[in-house]
């Protein structure tokens, strides 16, 4: 059985047990959240050993080159030595600037932007809740313009971190956030490309950031945003999005309601279904999918079948954490 060396101690890993599972089993205090290779909160540096491709999926090239890897996605077959990330990749503390309700379930959380905190709108950060529990939240603010960080947090009943944010967090409280990460953001270089943005619930957070970033960078192609919820009350930022639609000829906002008869101006049906129905062939389009995991995965396959290239599909499934 392989040995994992960490913080001056050695831990024996069972066969086919991930490094993360091994450390948790030994009661070692380490960060993690999704246990599925998505949130990157379990990132460590491998000092001895070679990270697998799967354990480096989604990491920036600079991090890969420095042997960073995700503990939840690596099963040691030989002895390895690991260390916590360097200072540049550690969490920073910041203050809560404002808390505002966007609808009955969604709170807009604005944080003071720490000095030199760089990110692309649409990326996500890991925020520490009670007892160091970490959860991922996407950035809806503009990196180039807004001097705060904006998150949209949906209240999950019984949710450890979202419940705490909704009921206990106050303006001026200190919170700890990781550097921003993820590849779901606007990339300049093809200003004429058509964009299709599909989100459910707070999947709008990254899409709102991406949409405003695209406009800020003078994107010329058509931009269709489909935001879905089961009821009209589940949608939010409706007026802001209608205003963007009215001002920019290339912006098209499609609020979708999947249950019952929607109010005037909204579409009946699921956002992903409507989007794929109404846009038809997607060859040459760039597509962003954010929100519920099942929606994101099935829409990804459908968009691909409708002609979108795999490299043009950016997907951010909000996979629930596994504590």
């Amino acid at each position: 059985m392989p040995i994992i060396a960490f913080d001056g101690r050695e831990y024996l890993a069972e066969d086919s047990e991930s490094v993360l599972d091994c450390l948790i089993r030994h009661d070692v205090s380490v960060n993690y959240s999704c246990r599925a290779g998505v949130c990157q909160s379990c990132m460590m540096m491998m000092k001895e050993g070679t990270p697998s491709e799967a354990s480096q999926k989604g990491l920036k090239d600079a991090l890969k080159a420095q042997n960073y890897f995700l503990m939840c996605s690596y099963v040691a077959e030989e002895d390895i030595a690991i260390a916590r990330p360097g200072k540049d990749f550690q969490s920073v503390e910041t203050d809560v600037l404002a808390l505002d309700r966007l609808n009955a379930d969604v709170l807009r959380v604005r944080l003071v932007r720490p000095e030199n905190y760089s990110y692309f709108p649409g990326q996500f950060l890991n925020l520490q809740g009670p007892d160091g529990t970490e959860r991922s939240y996407s950035l809806a603010s503009l990196a180039d313009g807004d001097d705060f960080l904006e998150l949209h947090v949906r209240h999950i009943p019984g949710g450890k971190v979202s419940g705490w944010i909704h009921t206990a967090l106050k303006v001026d409280d200190r919170v700890s956030i990781s550097p921003a990460t993820g590849d779901c953001f606007y990339t300049p270089g093809q200003p004429g490309q058509n964009l299709l943005l599909i989100g459910t619930g707070t999947g709008l957070a990254p899409l709102y950031g991406i949409l405003r970033d695209a406009l800020h960078q003078e994107h010329q192609g058509e931009i269709h945003l489909y935001h879905g919820s089961s009821t009209a009350e589940g949608l939010y930022l409706i007026d802001e999005l209608k205003a963007l639609d009215a001002v920019h000829t290339n912006v098209h906002y499609h609020p979708c309601v999947s249950q019952g008869t929607p109010p005037a101006g909204m579409t009946a049906g699921r956002a992903d279904q409507k989007a794929l129905e109404e846009t038809g062939k997607l060859g040459g389009w760039r597509i962003y999918l954010c929100g519920r995991e099942d929606m994101v995965k099935s829409a990804r396959q459908k968009a691909f079948l409708a002609g979108a290239s795999l490299k043009d599909i950016y997907a951010d499934p909000f996979v629930p954490a596994v504590d």
Binding site: K57, K297, R300, Q301, F304, L305, G307, L310
Partner: protein, 122 residues
């Protein structure tokens, strides 16, 4: 080495060009798409690449035994000659779309053919 099949097809770039087209064909083909229903597209796309590299005669470290093990769970679900033929057919039409000559397509089909018994676990 410069005239190996893999290089004549265009190497890694040819695999990259083919993967989207081939994978889309497979997912749309009702004869075989149930075997590829796994919605984790990142993993699947990586495997399609491995498949194409191998079929193009490119560098790979798969043995016949790997092919046997890798497809055993599919054989248990009914994978047979007709499915194998369908995959080879999709491979051929993908290459045709990319403008590859019939002669080279024949060579690719011949490589795929050498794996038939292992893939089907015989």
């Amino acid at each position: 080495m410069s005239d190996s099949l893999f290089n004549r097809l265009g190497g890694d770039a040819a695999v990259d060009a083919a993967v989207d087209i081939f994978y889309r064909k497979v997912l749309a083909d009702d004869r075989i798409n149930e075997f590829f229903a796994d919605v984790d597209m990142d993993k699947q796309a990586a495997k399609q690449k491995a498949f194409l590299t191998m079929a193009f005669g490119g560098p790979n470290s798969y043995t016949g035994e790997d092919m046997r093990k890798g497809h055993a769970h599919l054989v248990a679900r009914g994978l047979n000659d007709s499915h194998f033929d369908a995959v080879v057919e999709n491979l051929g039409s993908t290459l045709k779309e990319l403008g590859v000559s019939d002669e080279l397509i024949g060579e690719v089909a011949a490589i795929a053919e050498t794996t038939r018994n292992d893939v089907l676990g015989r």
